[in-house]
Symmetry: C2
Subunit: 224 residues, 2 copies
């Protein structure tokens, strides 16, 4: 035995919450791909088999972790008819920010529909804002679905760079390939490279969000 038990705090007893917390630590430190059952177990000074007492499998653990991220999102002020658009954009931006603090977590709600309380609380608040804005029920329902696809995908795109650890190099590399494209075959693409790569993540994310929010005023659902 290398260390006496007095060298460090008594090992916390395992529990479902401890497993999820350990998963969150690994997630924040190294991204979703690094959240292996073995890595989470190591974080708890135990072996991977021990985790199966508290979670059914890796997929369930990741779902719990996603809900923990969702619970970090501040629902914000009560829906206000006069400010519904900015409330909506602000709420969805907070969702993205929470996911961006946990690289790769956006893959989880894209792999199966979240049903945890954290996620439901956000959807409930979004529906409240949409109702305050006078959006018809069917439009509001489908909007929630569509806009989360966008938000999740946007967060995932950001995490590519974070998870690969390069940030600058990857972006520069793809930009380079775009600058070498065949001007004759893709004239528009070639002439618009500047516009395609301009703007930071926030400006681009906000643009897409506003596209969908403004669209709500002008698009009817096809459902009867």
């Amino acid at each position: 035995m290398a260390r006496s038990t007095r060298d460090r705090p008594a090992k916390a007893p395992l529990s479902r919450d401890a497993v999820i917390a350990a998963g969150m630590t690994v997630l924040r430190r190294a991204g979703l791909d690094a959240v292996t059952m073995r890595a989470v177990a190591a974080e708890l000074d135990t072996g991977p088999a021990s985790l199966y007492v508290y979670v059914a499998n890796r997929e369930q653990l990741l779902n719990e972790m996603f809900d923990a991220v969702a619970r970090e999102v501040e629902p914000g002020p009560e829906p206000d008819a006069a400010r519904w658009r900015e409330q909506l954009e602000a709420l969805l931006t907070r969702v993205r920010d929470a996911m961006d603090r946990h690289p790769g977590i956006a893959r989880v709600p894209l792999a199966n529909i979240p049903t945890g309380h954290g996620a439901m609380r956000i959807v409930e608040r979004m529906l409240g804002i949409l109702r305050a804005g006078g959006i018809p029920e069917q439009s509001a329902a489908w909007f929630v679905d569509c806009v989360f696809l966008y938000v999740n995908a946007a967060s995932l795109e950001t995490s590519i760079y974070v998870e690969s650890g390069l940030t600058e190099d990857v972006a520069a590399g793809t930009r380079e390939r775009f600058e070498q494209i065949d001007t004759a075959e893709y004239p528009l693409l070639a002439s618009m490279t500047g516009a395609l790569f301009s703007g930071d993540g926030d400006a681009r994310f906000s643009f897409g969000l506003r596209l969908m929010i403004e669209g709500l005023r002008h698009v009817k659902t096809s459902a009867r």
Copy 2:
């Protein structure tokens, strides 16, 4: 030796294209997760090590396969100023259809920005349609980015059911959990379960697409 070489056609010589084609066969049959280097090699009657003569690694193989899917997309008629909205929606719907025929492939353009010719050809056509519609350059550029996030995520959502092979059961299971939610805590969610689950994939996809397309007329980019 179990079979003489006359029992079957001469084994096709390996090549980069053969590796990609074998990957596509596995993809269509069993989804992206099933496209392992070992499965692709087995499809070619060889071992996984042999593939590395033609592709650098699994990631590169998947990128090539995504571009093969992109090349299946019909660019459609020349951009027409009078019909730019429907042309745009039709093109993006064809993109989704092509991806839906290859379950899980949408994860590839979400994991790294595509730079192949198949993808570029589609972007070039989209930019042409947007220009015909009189959309400013910066809006068009950001729109392409945003709308592909949405299209990729939407295709991925569909493939959840296809890849898990259940289709009906998974959808019914999540719906069931929604019908049991706490009416007091989530009154809107509870009262709108019907609206949230209504509509087939096509109607919902089209709704989100039209949100973004209509939004183009009303949202300005923040870039100078």
